[in-house]
Amino acid sequence: MIRVVLPAHLRSLAKLNGEVKLDVDGEVTQGAVLDALEAAYPMLRGTMRDQATKQRRPFVRFYACEEDLSHEPPDKLLPDAVAAGTEPYLVIGAMAGG
């Protein structure tokens, strides 16, 4: 069971309270987690990554286990603690503004 924490705007869009819990088949990579997330909540398609290219949107970041994984390739395995569900995978709306 993978735990995903979404920013407030995406939680409200998906009508969610709290964390998302996902089953991911096969290897637990960033791409597989995001694929599973978008399959479970189709309204999130296009909000975190481009629908065609799958490129991360510029002001969205992906963190886990105190590491910034935003620039890691989509097929890279996530940390064991995320795969085991002891640590969440964090989708972050980057701080911006003033």
Binding site: P7, H9, R45, G46, Q51, A52
Partner: protein, 371 residues
């Protein structure tokens, strides 16, 4: 009982304002989608409880929301706006080629007859159509692929397709306006397009009467006379009496002819409204006075409408999609400001009162006349 529903898009959410036919007392609902930019909310004339909203943010991109109960509940719809084929380039601000990139939906135009058909005008300028109630979108690429496309250049607000006008008497005819390319017309339901900018003069471009390159801000039509079009250009208020083939200036005695919205009275096709703005470098009204100008002669002769509007220390703007007209017997006129007020007149502009005063900056105002 007859009533109205005003649909307001703001920088930080959407609001619906409802009243009965008297338009004195208002119920305010919202914010819907709080924190998101709502460029436009539009209702289907064919099914008035069906509303479409363009919801976007710099973080999470574009969403389209639909309500089938007059705005009480909403569902996200399709949000993939993929350009047809290889998009190619247009001109960037510095004149260099720039790839066509989708940024957001500026304007939604539901079909007058089919609740499942809706058009979307987007930035970078292109026209999309959905025939499944917003579930999926396909580009009408004949517009973007018009031969002049690579020469189009963005205005200061981006290269946006912001106005879509459908001819109610001829389903094959439609108009689209783009900043800063100009007005285009299709006579075959959006398959092919041609520019219709003859008569426009724009001093800000190298060739002032070029075929394309004009910063058209808004066009409006009265449904009973679809060949008569009115335009608020960057500077100049213009009129065409031949479906856009030729335009002539009708700015007349306006104190400034810079502005964004233009609207036509519901029952008087020669009565039109604009909100003059000081200049393109001062995006606020003149002399601290918020004045709507009305012409009852189809242009040239204008009168200031001020009753109930702030006449001192007011420095707001009114954007191109932020004025609307209802079709009650005594025609209602509505507009929203960058200061977050929405004003209503139930007597065709003779007197005004704020419905709300402190919303986030208003991006768009539409009104539905309800049975």
């Amino acid at each position: 009982m007859t009533g109205v529903r005003v649909l307001v898009g703001t920088r930080k959410g959407a609001f619906t304002l409802t009243s009965d036919g008297s338009r004195r007392d208002w119920e305010v609902s919202g914010p819907h989608f709080p924190g998101w930019e709502i460029y436009h909310v539009a209702g289907s004339p064919a099914e008035p409880d069906r509303l479409f909203a363009s919801q976007s943010s710099g973080w999470f991109g574009q969403l389209i929301q639909r309500s089938d109960d007059g705005g009480q509940t909403w569902e996200p719809m399709g949000n993939e706006f993929a350009y047809d084929g290889v998009p190619g380039t247009h001109q960037w601000y510095d004149g260099t080629p720039h790839p066509w990139e989708f940024a957001r939906v500026w304007h939604l135009e539901p079909s007058p007859t089919d609740p499942d058909t809706v058009y979307a005008g987007v930035e970078d300028a292109a026209l999309f159509k959905s025939t499944d109630g917003g579930g999926s979108w396909a580009e009408l690429s004949g517009l973007r692929k018009h031969g002049s496309g690579p020469s189009w250049q963005p205005g200061a607000g981006g290269m946006c397709l912001h106005t879509i006008v459908l001819d109610p008497t001829n389903p094959a005819r439609m108009y689209a306006a783009i900043s800063a390319a100009g007005v285009f017309r299709s006579d075959d339901s959006g398959t092919t397009w041609r520019p219709i900018n003859r008569g426009l003069q724009s001093e800000g471009i190298p060739d002032p009467d070029a075929e394309v390159g004009h910063c058209v801000h808004r066009i409006a039509m009265h449904p009973s006379r679809p060949d008569v079009l009115f335009m608020q250009k960057h500077w100049d208020v213009m009129r065409s009496d031949d479906a856009g083939e030729n335009w002539h200036e009708v700015s007349g005695n306006l104190p400034t002819d810079f502005g964004f919205p233009i609207a036509v009275h519901a029952h008087e096709p020669e009565t039109i409204y604009v909100v003059p703005i000081t200049s393109d470098s001062h995006h606020f009204v003149m002399e601290g006075k918020l004045r709507v100008y009305r012409s009852r002669t189809g242009g040239n002769e204008w009168e200031a409408l001020t009753a109930g509007l702030p006449q001192q220390d007011c420095y707001v703007n009114v954007l191109r999609d932020a004025m609307a007209i209802d079709s009650l017997d005594s025609c209602g006129v509505y507009f929203g400001t960058s200061g977050g007020a929405v004003y209503a007149s139930a007597d065709a502009g003779d007197s005004w009162a704020p419905i709300v005063a402190d919303l986030p900056a208003v991006l768009s105002v539409e009104v539905q006349t309800l049975p």
